[in-house]
Each structure stands twice: as structure tokens, then as C-alpha cells.
Amino acid sequence: MNQLVAVVIDGLIYSSWLFIIAVGLTLIYGVMKILNIAHGSLYALGAYSAAALAGYWINQGHAPMGSYAVMLLAAILVGLVAGPVIERGLLRFMYGKDEIVLVLVTYAVFLILEDFIKLTWGVDPYFLYQPYGLLGSFDVGDLTYPVYNLVLFGAAVLIGVTLAWVLTRTRRGKMLVAVIHDREMAAAMGINVGLVYFVTFTVGAMLGAVGGALTAPMISVQPGIGAETIVLAFAVVVIGGLGSLPGAALAAILVGLVRSAAVHYRPELDLFAIYFVMAVVLIMRPKGLFSVPEARKI
């Protein structure tokens, strides 16, 4: 098979994963101007919850196909519980403070959640490998790919399209965009900014957890996966422009394709690939691909 085709397929699959883990982070930053380091822990919580609940489901002898629904349910539960607890219990007291303070606060949450995960699930890895092979596989030339990779690709497209539609085509989405552009003016126009923040953070937390749940069948779910992931997610979000949804999508595609090309043609450059993209983009556009000029308030 043409190696170029393999590069593109592998790149797009990796891009899908990158977009899924980064989209919640960029959404929260876009609306709330919070660099949510705890996003890594929400991803890990999603992965652990999915592995534990879907693993239990399968071990109890239920239909393995049902494990996909259980995984999704686990991620939604994590988002619905952790999101409001963090936002209502902590972050709302910090609004208006410097961005760096909020970074430190979310870092503290990250550390607490990492220990919570260890206390809850221990340090032994969890496996949920069944859903990865359950849907069978398909061949492209002489390469075999699990159909699950298509699920990942489909999930990334669905999440991206849904968010774009909500933000641009619905009344509530337009209210949210108004808050993004000018919080004070939006509040003056009668938008409940507190509610917008609450909903945004909860949805962002849910997206982080969905990323973890969708990844769980492909990896060994173990302590530390959140830290590894948040670094990649940050890189994607920074390349795309903080808070930009299309930016995150384009950055994920760029990074995925460059990394895939590096692995296929020059494996020794794999380690450097994502940071190479980051360096080139930031040299040309210091605020990322889709950054918008900011008006300075006098």
C-alpha cells in the first residue's frame, strides 16, 4: 500500500484523538478564560470510570455491545458530578482574579483529583480491551485497522460539528458567544453569566471525561495518564489559538499528520514532531492559528 495513504489514515486517527482530548479545554478557555489543568484529571476520571463500569458490565455477562453505552454513561456521570462540584465549589469564588491564579487553582484541583484516583482505584492498571476489537476490523491495502478507530473519528467529527452548530445556530450558543466577547456587556444585556459559566464548565468537564472513556479501550488505564494527556492537549490548544474551536481542529490535524509522517519516514523525529509544529506556528502567529486581534480597553 502507498505509504502516503497510511500516513494520512494514521494521522487522521491520531488527530481525532487529539481533538477529542483538547476540545473541552479550548471551550472552557474560550468562554471562561481559565486554563484548566484539571482537564487532565477529568480525562483520567473518565477513563477510570469507563474501565471500571464497562469492565463490570462485561464481567457480569451482559451483552458486550452494551459496554459502549456504559462507557458513555460513565463519562457523562463524571462530567455531571465533577464539573458542578469544581465550578460551584471552587472556581466561582475565583472569577475576576488574575488568569495565573486560576491556573494555580486548577493545578491544585488536578493534584487533588490525581490522589483521589489513586485512593479510589489504586495503582494497578485497569484494562477494558474488549470494546476495541468488538466491532471487527477493516483493511486498507495491506494494513488492518480496528473499526473502533472509525468510531473515534466519527466521535471527533460529531463533537466538533455539534459544538459549532450550537455556538453559531442556536440562541443559547449566541448568548455564549456574547459572553466570550464581552462578559460585562453580556451581563448588562441580561444574560446570566454565572449560569453560562456553570454550563460551559460542566460541558467541558464532560468532554474531557468522554475523551478518557473513548481512550480507555486502547490503553492501560493507570495513574499518570492525565498528566501525559494535558501536555498534549495544551500543545494542540496553543497551536490552534487559545479558545478557538476551529483552531483546535486544525491544530489536531496538523499535529496528527506531522507526527504520523515522522513515524513513517523519520522515526527518530517522532519525539520532536508536535513541538516542531508548535514552534513553527508560534513563530509565524504568536497567538496561534485562529487567534483574533484583541481590542485594548482604555
Binding site: 494514521d10 476489537g133 494494513l143 490503553i219 492501560s220 493507570q222 495513574p223 513513517h264
Partner: protein, 432 residues
């Protein structure tokens, strides 16, 4: 007035009496004072599950059994020479800089007598000079880099397991004995010291013993990468006869989960030089016929003996599974130190650190994995033979068959010869 004059004298006398009493009490306690051992192992992070926690469980079980005098001969004296042991456990996570600080804390604030620890090669290289500076007998129990004693000499540092060269050498020997027609091979290894060294050793052995074989690809994902889609595609496209891998922990498990459904191991023979701890965990995702090493004759490769039965029993009582190679590594460290301590103690009292060091150098001692000889690094680096086998699934459990044992002279360079130089010179058996 007189009372006021003598009050300071009374106070001084009371303080002196108190100090004297404390000293008497302290000397009384000194006779029962346990030997304090600092254990450094991963309790968090990716290495905790497969290595760190099994090592901790083994250490606790061994200390409890030694203190009760329940270990088989020649280790059946309670504690070390009758003195009980006390463990202080420290998490190895956090990187080399943190471990240097932790070692200073263990020695200077927690006053441990000996340190047993370190799974990461990077941590071993960082703490060895510091242990030397602190003059504290430190045993490296699991890290594999040969550089510790090939590039430096230490008085206070020992390593009671063989270095990693034999993992790659024996893996290649086993492969060529069982598949002599190998024409091409590829590798997937983590991009840091362990992965790079293992790949360098393996390719050097193949170039020496099978010079016509072709290297088709060397994949070096970063540690903790997690996603291996492009790497698996690249390996599939090489159609290599063999894939060598020193991946471990979550990286190995993720690679196996992703590569098995894609049929990579239907095309290529897999050689896992550090795969033994995952046999029971990867049931269903470890293809039959995988060549697996245990970094010595450990775990499933340990031969029957009273010491092996003892370790298996005390470990299973705590962990409900049989021990894997990190548990054997930790057992070697404790039993080596006990043998040296008791040899130094003889019929006398507690030996000084220098006496224990003298007794430890060039010591031969028995372990659950067989005989251990402190032959390299001027008597500070252990040598053992090793073993390899091939996986097969029986009743849903992954086990190994076709086991082959390699004596140490076939898989280890002799004293004073660097590993790669020895391999490139044809791996002539040294004199031991």
C-alpha cells in the same frame, strides 16, 4: 535570698540528671534498636503497578518473615544477625532530582542504616554519587543500566541484580536458536536510556551473530506515548521476521492492546525482553509464541528451591498472585545484605558499615532465583545467568514453555570490558 541563690544550681542539677537518665535509657534501648532500612520504590506513576508495588509488597513480606525467623537456611536467623528490621518506604516517583533529596532525607533526617531501592536507571545514576558522599550503604535493586559500574567505581553502592546487557544478549541468542532463518528485524523501544541501550545491544548481537539480517525499522516513541497507531502501521509495512521490544508498564500494555487486533504478531515474531510481569495481565492479548524474558531466572523462570518456595508463599499470602521479577530483585537485595551483614558480624556485635561493605564485596549468596555472585564492579555488581521462554495459553492463562537457561559467561561481559565492546568482539565467554 539563699533559696534564690541556689535555684540556678538546682535547675542545672535537674537538667544534668535528666540528661543522664535519658542517656541511660537510650543505651538501654540501643540493644534492641532495629536496623532501619530505607526502601525506595515507585508507589505512584506508570511504574507503580507492574514494578513498584510488587517490590513494596515483597519487601514488606520479606521483612516480616525475616524478623520472625521464618526464612529457610541460611537466612533463618531473625532479622539481620538477631536484630529486627524496620522499613521506611519512600515513593520513587518525581524524577532524579527529587530522589537525590529523598535520599538525603532518608539518611540525614530519618537516620536509616541502609538504603535498598531504585527501579529507574536515571535514578540509579543520580543517587549513586550521593550515596557515596553520604557514606551510606545503598543497594540498587532493580535498575538495569550497565553504566553505573562501567563508567564509575563506588565504595558504598552495590547492585544485587545483573545489569541489562544480558536481557538483549540472551533474547537474541534464544531467537536465533529457535528461528535461525531470521532475515529481518525491527524494534519498538521507549526513547530514553533503557530503550535505546536495549535496542543498541540487540542490534549489536544480531549484527555479530547474524550479519546478513537486515534492520528494517527502529521505532522510538516517547515514554508514556499511549497511542501507537502510526508505529504499528510502520511496523506492519516492514513485514519483518522479528520485532524486538523493551517496552514496559502501561506502554507495553497499550502497545499489545492496539497491535494484537491489527494482526502485527501474525506477521512478525515478537521478542519482549522485559515481558514477564505482564503474562497474567495480558491474557487474551499476549499471542502464543511470544519470546519473553524476565531479566534473570526470575518469576516463572525461577527454579524450584526452598528459597523460591518461601518467596512464592509469603508473596502470595499478601498479593494473592505469585511474585514477578521485581519481587525477586528486591529479595536478592535483602538476602544479599543479610548475608553480608551476618558475615561481617560473625560472633561479635553490630558491625560497622565498612565491615559490612568488606563482607559484601565479591560475596556469593543464594537467592530465590539461584546463585548470585558479586563479581563485577570490583565486587559491587552482581552477575547471574538468565532464562528465556515462549508463551503459550493454557486454560485462558498465559504461561511459558520451551524454557532455556543461559549461564552468566554466555550473556555477560567480564570485568573491565564494556558491554557493547564485548558484543562486537564476538561475546567470548569470560573467566569467572
Amino acid at each position: 535570698m539563699d533559696g534564690n541563690l541556689f535555684r540556678p544550681l538546682k535547675t542545672v542539677a535537674a537538667v544534668l540528671a535528666g540528661v543522664a537518665l535519658t542517656m541511660v535509657c537510650a543505651s538501654g534501648h540501643a540493644q534492641d534498636k532495629p536496623i532501619r532500612i530505607g526502601l525506595v520504590t515507585f508507589l505512584s506513576g506508570p511504574a507503580a503497578g507492574p514494578f513498584g508495588v510488587p517490590a513494596k509488597i515483597a519487601a514488606e513480606a520479606i521483612v516480616e518473615s525475616l524478623n520472625a525467623g521464618r526464612a529457610p537456611a541460611p537466612y533463618n536467623k531473625k532479622g539481620f544477625g538477631g536484630t529486627p528490621l524496620e522499613l521506611t518506604i519512600v515513593d520513587e516517583a518525581g524524577g532524579a532530582t527529587k530522589q537525590v533529596t529523598e535520599l538525603r532525607n532518608l539518611v540525614e533526617r530519618q537516620n536509616v542504616d541502609f538504603v535498598i531501592g531504585y527501579i529507574s536507571s536515571g535514578d540509579c545514576l543520580a543517587v549513586a554519587p550521593v550515596a557515596e558522599e553520604l557514606k551510606t550503604l545503598t543497594i540498587l535493586f532493580d535498575c538495569g543500566t550497565p553504566r553505573v559500574f562501567e563508567e564509575a567505581g563506588y565504595k558504598y553502592v552495590f547492585r544485587t541484580r545483573s545489569h541489562a546487557t544480558m536481557d538483549a544478549v540472551a533474547g537474541a541468542l534464544y531467537l536465533l536458536e529457535n528461528r535461525p532463518a531470521v532475515k529481518s528485524f525491527a524494534g519498538i523501544n521507549q526513547n530514553y536510556a533503557w530503550g535505546q541501550d536495549s535496542w543498541a545491544d540487540f542490534t549489536a548481537v544480531m549484527e555479530t551473530l547474524k550479519p546478513e539480517s537486515e534492520i528494517t525499522s527502529s521505532q522510538m516513541p516517547k515514554f508514556g506515548a499511549g497511542q501507537y497507531g502510526p508505529e504499528i502501521s510502520a511496523l506492519l509495512q516492514t513485514n519483518s521476521d522479528v520485532i524486538h521490544s523493551s517496552l514496559w508498564g502501561g506502554d507495553l500494555e497499550a502497545f499489545m492492546l492496539q497491535a494484537t487486533p491489527r494482526g502485527l504478531f501474525n506477521r512478525s515474531q515478537l521478542v519482549l525482553v522485559a515481558g514477564e510481569p505482564y503474562l497474567h495481565r495480558l491474557a487474551g492479548n499476549m499471542p502464543d509464541g511470544t519470546i519473553v524474558g524476565a531479566r534473570g531466572p526470575n518469576g516463572v523462570y525461577a527454579q524450584k528451591s526452598a528459597l523460591n518456595d518461601w518467596l512464592r508463599q509469603i508473596y502470595k499470602e499478601r498479593a494473592e498472585i505469585y511474585p514477578n521479577y521485581p519481587a525477586y530483585s528486591v529479595a536478592m537485595a535483602f538476602l544479599g545484605l543479610k548475608a553480608a551483614y551476618e558475615k561481617a558480624r560473625g560472633a561479635g556485635g553490630a558491625p560497622a558499615t565498612d565491615e559490612v561493605i568488606k563482607a559484601f564485596e565479591f560475596l556469593n549468596f543464594d537467592s530465590p532465583a539461584g546463585k548470585v555472585m558479586m563479581k563485577l564492579g570490583k565486587g559491587h555488581q552482581a552477575v547471574t545467568g538468565t532464562a528465556y521462554g515462549t508463551t503459550r495459553t493454557v486454560n485462558g492463562q498465559v504461561t511459558v514453555g520451551n524454557i532455556k537457561y543461559y549461564p552468566l559467561e554466555r550473556v555477560q561481559p567480564p570485568e573491565g570490558v564494556k558491554s557493547l565492546d564485548w558484543i562486537k568482539a564476538g561475546m567470548k565467554p569470560g573467566k569467572w
